[in-house]
Amino acid sequence: MKVLYFSWLRDRTGVGEEQLSPPESVTTVRLLIEWLVEQGGGHQAAFADLEIIRVAVNQEYVNLDTPLSAGDEVAFFPPVTGG
């Protein structure tokens, strides 16, 4: 699974992209976040407030209960500020 971080989420995790193999019990976005926080590092600070985090799976917006598959590309980022 490829996990991407943008904007201040990248600043806090310290990585822009990581290739991960979470355990099989990680079946949704919410469970992935919980697992990432357990891994330590800057992830705990990055995911401190889920209200202000947006998630995309395979480049489409999803919610925290969206199911995940091993080959998914999951991206975490704050609300967008383009235009």
Binding site: E60, A75, V80, G82, G83
Partner: protein, 151 residues
């Protein structure tokens, strides 16, 4: 048409390309967004726009397709820049052409409103106090949500 690029653009040249050789266009509406030198009362010296390339492409394609499904348009154009930009620089250009003005006006407004809340771009502003990520504005979400009710 969608262009996501680092380099500058010329709104006049880009708009002319949409009308060249055509006589069926009755109206063109465009919106250009520029880097301002002030933000929340603070002086901004530059900003850096980051994006998520594969999703940007996908979202802008979806937004453009949605505009075409809602209004009778001839063409639409979205150009969005990324990288480091300074006050006065172009950021974004949205153009809609149609036989009549109403569709062009509405589609142009819709395109920029949806882009601002859906396209994965993030601005980081530089000022004399350092640099900071720009926070999303509720007013942008409200502007985008008014199009939810439109069939």
């Amino acid at each position: 048409m969608i262009k996501v690029q680092q380099e500058d653009f010329d709104a006049g040249v880009e708009t002319r390309k949409l009308t060249e050789g055509r006589t069926d266009i009755g109206g063109i509406c465009s919106f250009a967004g520029l880097v301002r030198d002030m933000s929340g009362g603070e002086s901004v010296s530059a900003m850096t726009l980051e994006h998520y390339p594969s999703m940007t492409e996908k979202m802008l394609t979806e937004i453009e397709a949605e505009a075409h499904s809602r209004w009778p348009l001839h063409d639409t154009l979205i150009i969005h820049r990324y990288g480091r930009l300074e006050p006065g620089d172009n950021i974004v250009l949205v153009v809609a052409t149609s036989a009549h003005r109403d569709a062009a006006f509405d589609a142009c407004r819709f395109l920029i409103d949806w882009l601002k809340t859906k396209a994965p771009f993030w601005k980081k502003e530089e000022s004399q106090d350092g640099s900071k990520w720009v926070e999303a504005r509720d007013s942008d979400t409200e502007a985008a949500s008014k199009w939810d009710a439109v069939d």
